[in-house]
């Protein structure tokens, strides 16, 4: 069975690659947090599930909310609002979890509400304005801005969103603490 699964995965991947070339290209899952709209390339998105009970883990970053049980698979979830250093909000029935798969790490993103699946043409994506603060890359996980209608969607780079220098920095802090 595992072989079959693997095979499925393989074929799935090739399909995905093919689709990347045409149908999935430029498609983004957009969600709303606060007033802003964010977008994630749809090729990263595995599935969307409703909010579910989260087992908290002590002593981790505040935006790592804990673990959920996704049909027997245990995956961590992070709160996107907290990740963006915004005030956390109440979870409602519109809140949901986008399960993304980045380099075969499965992670759930808690988002306030889903917006849509949009096709964004490549030429309408602009790099984020830097305002001369190149060194201080606060928004590095936003790699582009896209204008759709009268809203601006911030496009996220999931790889940077989930693995991040601040965790490394935090670990270094811990190490320093331990040494002192």
């Amino acid at each position: 069975m595992a072989e079959e699964l693997l095979k499925k995965e393989e074929t799935g991947e090739t399909e995905e690659l093919l689709e990347d070339d045409d149908s999935q290209k430029g498609m983004f899952m957009t969600f709303q947090t606060g007033k802003e709209f964010f977008g994630i390339s749809i090729s990263y998105v595995n599935e969307i599930i409703a909010m579910q009970p989260i087992a908290a883990i002590p002593e981790v970053e505040d935006y790592v909310k804990g673990l959920i049980n996704l049909r027997g698979k245990i995956i961590p979830v992070i709160d996107v609002r907290v990740r963006f250093k915004m005030e956390p909000c109440e979870y409602t029935d519109r809140t949901c979890i986008i399960v993304i798969d980045v380099k075969s790490t499965m992670i759930g993103l808690i988002v306030e509400r889903l917006a849509d699946v949009d096709t964004i043409a490549e030429d309408s994506i602009a790099p984020p304005p830097s305002l001369g603060r190149k060194e201080h890359e606060h928004n590095k996980y936003v790699y582009g801005l896209a204008r759709t209608g009268d809203t601006v969607t911030l496009l996220l780079d999931p790889e940077k969103l989930i693995k991040q220098d601040d965790i490394v920095a935090a670990m270094e802090d811990v190490r320093k603490d331990e040494q002192s």
Binding site: I57, E61, G72, P76, I107
Partner: protein
């Protein structure tokens, strides 16, 4: 695509089978290493192993493996047929092991996706020389050799069935109609049908399955077979599917003609000269008949017809075993875990909780379901358990190799090799165990037998490898009756190397001193040998064992011997745990590490000004951890008389932990915390509870360490 898949699976099967056969082979060899010679059963068995590996490696075109195994097969064929006395047994054992090593090495290469390119020449020459010597000795002694071996060039012989007096010989030629489709498959089905009755079967073209062009050849020139069988002509004809055949020529041959025909068939082979006389001369005696095709040839049925009968008797009772990909097992285990959770969701569904609802049939059915799922869980758990036999087999080999290299006379006793352990654990203990065994041989047993006899010990050293299963743990001990550990030497050495604080020896307990040998950079042997003495090792052993939450116990009496015992859990995947609750979060504590649950009053609590707290229980003082404070858990109990104190023990140190309440005891499946989440001290993993929620598993060692660091 389909063909590729086939070769892949063929390769898998080849690797698996050959691996198994080689293990069996080593088993036989090492069992008989001290005997004077192999008995007939062993010779037959080794012969069969070599023959099988040769055959399958030949099919897969791994020529070097084929050549080497073929050579060893020759040697054993000779032993089997001639029963020479005076076989240099030790040398033979070495030769067999050398071949086994060579093939194992090549198999490893294959496993890693490399080409098996080991050079077999040296080995083949050695074997040739050995065989030559064996024969030479025999001739000198004037013992009559079997006829066959006089005539046949030893490298050529290939075992074909004994031709009995009542055997018939046929030449069969089938000509198919010119419009026949896939005549090669038809030809194959004919050979397949004949296999049933054949003692020997040879056919041209010989590549009917692998070469599609052979179909054209068959249509053009016909398909020719040489058959040796006990069946009558009529029976044979009945077996051949004649539906598409235009003409079937059926000639009965005499033995002599058959022999000639054989050599004709073999005319395209490299050594026709060797094959032909062999075949013809053999007819004159009733000895086993040999001819000289290469392993690539299709000599159908040799295995079964020639040796099947004798082998049936020799084969030990075998459990029927299939090998399964571990990933599949893991997938199955995950699925069963999900099933159990799904079951809980159904059976405890809130929709069922309507007051006054009569559910007696449902209850019955659900009881049955629970029973099945529980059994299912037990079965999958037992499937992961494997006996230590193979691991111990490797140890035998090591003792054999190392003791011979070092010139020590050592006997190895193995006890309890059928003890079953989780497969994951076996993988983790093999290396450490190997190291311990090597150490025992190298350091433990005295160099000179005189050193032993002078203090009343037998000259032969003895190492005992024992495994037993006790109270959810597996104990594997390596015991030697050598010189034992000298406390003074250990202490002095550790001190010289600056591995310990400068304290008087009397301040260390015996156990602590023995533990010095597990410090990194410690080696008591003065010289570095090939096998041990580099000072890396014992610390690695300990680390490996700790990584599977096991430990190493050392005990020793100087001049009498030492004993190293690995204490490891039976399984990693499943632990018996107690689910407790702190605040809103469930935690799991391994049952084995819980000493007791107590409720104490405020008066047992001692607070230091620094904030440290201790609990006094029956006059003993234990460090105290409030889990809710340690992990910032809200809504939990702060007053210790309302909560429950769990006393935990890990490697002799204890700690008290405050929890809110106990939920249940259950077997839990340990899953790792996803690597994305930073490692938290005091947590070793997580698990799903019956209702699908996730509980974190407390790691006592981590808790204690964390506690120590804070102080």
């Amino acid at each position: 695509m389909a063909e590729e898949f086939n070769t892949e699976s063929m390769l898998d099967i080849f690797l698996y089978e050959s691996g198994q056969l080689l293990e069996k082979l080593e088993g036989i060899i090492l069992e008989k290493q001290d005997a004077d010679c192999f008995d007939d059963d062993d010779i037959n068995e080794i012969f069969r192993v070599m023959h099988t590996i040769k055959g399958s490696s030949g099919v897969l075109m791994y020529e070097n493996i084929t050549k080497v195994t073929h050579k060893l097969e020759d040697v054993f064929y000779y032993l089997r047929e001639s029963h020479p006395d005076d076989v240099p047994h030790m040398e033979l054992v070495e030769k067999v092991l050398a071949v086994s090593d060579f093939v194992t090495g090549e198999l490893d290469k294959l496993k890693n996706g490399e080409t098996p390119d080991g050079d077999e020449k040296q080995l083949v020459e050695d074997l040739d020389e050995f065989l030559g010597r064996l024969k030479g000795e025999i001739t000198k002694q004037g013992i009559q050799m079997p006829q066959a071996n006089k005539h046949v060039e030893p490298t050529q012989f290939y075992i074909t069935p004994v031709a009995g007096d009542d055997s018939h010989f046929y030449r069969i030629s089938i000509h198919y109609r010119s419009d026949t489709q896939m005549s090669n498959l038809r030809a194959y089905s004919a050979t397949y049908a004949l296999k049933e009755v054949a003692e020997d079967l040879l056919y041209t073209p010989d590549d009917i399955l692998s070469n599609e062009a052979s179909a054209d050849v068959i249509v053009a020139e016909g398909f020719h077979m040489l058959l040796q069988t006990k069946s009558s002509k009529e029976e044979v004809i009945a077996l051949i599917d004649s539906s598409e055949a235009e003409e079937i020529n059926f000639d009965e041959l005499s033995k002599e003609e058959y022999g000639r025909a054989l050599s004709e068939f073999g005319r395209e082979e490299a050594e026709p000269a060797a094959a032909a006389p062999a075949a013809t001369k053999d007819e004159n005696n009733k000895e086993a008949k040999k001819e000289g095709p290469k392993p690539g040839d299709y000599v159908v049925k040799t295995k079964e017809a020639g040796k099947g009968k004798t082998l049936a008797k020799n084969q030990p009772k075998q459990q029927s075993i299939i090998s399964v990909n571990v990933e599949k097992m893991d997938a199955l285990m995950d699925l069963i875990g999900e099933l159990v959770i799904a079951e809980a969701v159904v059976l405890q569904n809130p929709d069922l909780k309507v007051p006054g609802l009569e559910l007696s049939n449902f209850q019955k059915a659900s009881g049955q379901l629970s029973k099945i799922t529980t059994e299912l869980q037990e079965v999958i758990m037992s499937m992961r358990m494997m006996p230590l036999t193979n691991t111990f087999q490797k140890m035998r080999r090591i003792v054999f190799d190392v003791s011979r290299k070092l010139g020590k006379d050592i006997e190895l006793e193995v006890i309890g090799e059928n003890t079953e352990v989780d497969k994951n654990i076996i993988e983790h203990i093999t290396d450490p165990l190997m190291h311990l065994v090597r150490n025992s041989v190298d350091h433990g047993i005295e160099e000179n037998p005189e050193d032993r006899t002078s203090i009343g010990k037998p000259a032969k050293g003895k190492i005992t490898l024992e495994a037993k299963n006790e109270g959810g743990k597996v104990y594997i001990s390596v015991k030697d009756d050598g010189k034992g550990l000298s406390k003074e030497k250990l202490y002095q050495k550790a001190l010289d190397k600056g591995l310990i604080e400068n304290k008087a020896m009397s301040e260390f307990t015996e156990k602590e001193i023995f533990r010095f040998i597990t410090l990194p950079g410690f080696s008591t042997k003065e010289e570095v040998t090939e096998y041990s003495g580099r000072g890396v090792g014992m610390d690695v052993v300990v680390k490996n064992i700790q990584s599977i939450s096991g430990r190493l116990d050392i005990s020793s009496v100087e001049f009498e011997g030492s004993e190293m015992t690995l204490v490891i859990p039976l399984t990693l995947a499943i632990i018996n745990g107690i689910v407790v609750q702190v605040g809103n979060s469930p935690f799991v504590i391994e049952t084995a590490s819980i000493k007791e649950f107590v409720r104490v009053g405020e008066d047992s609590l001692i607070s230091e000004p620094s904030g440290e707290e201790y609990i006094v229980l029956r006059g003993e003082c234990y460090p105290f951890i409030r889990l809710n404070q340690r992990y910032d858990l809200p809504d939990s109990i702060d007053k210790i008389e309302e909560g429950i104190i769990v006393v935990l023990e890990h490697e002799g140190s204890q700690v008290c932990v405050l929890i809110d309440k106990l939920l249940q005891e259950q077997e839990i499946v340990v899953k790792p915390i996803p690597s994305y989440v930073r490692k938290v001290k005091g947590l070793s993993g997580c698990t799903q509870l019956g209702d699908g929620s996730i509980a974190l598993i407390l790691d006592i060692a981590g808790l204690l360490m964390h506690d120590g660091e804070r102080r």
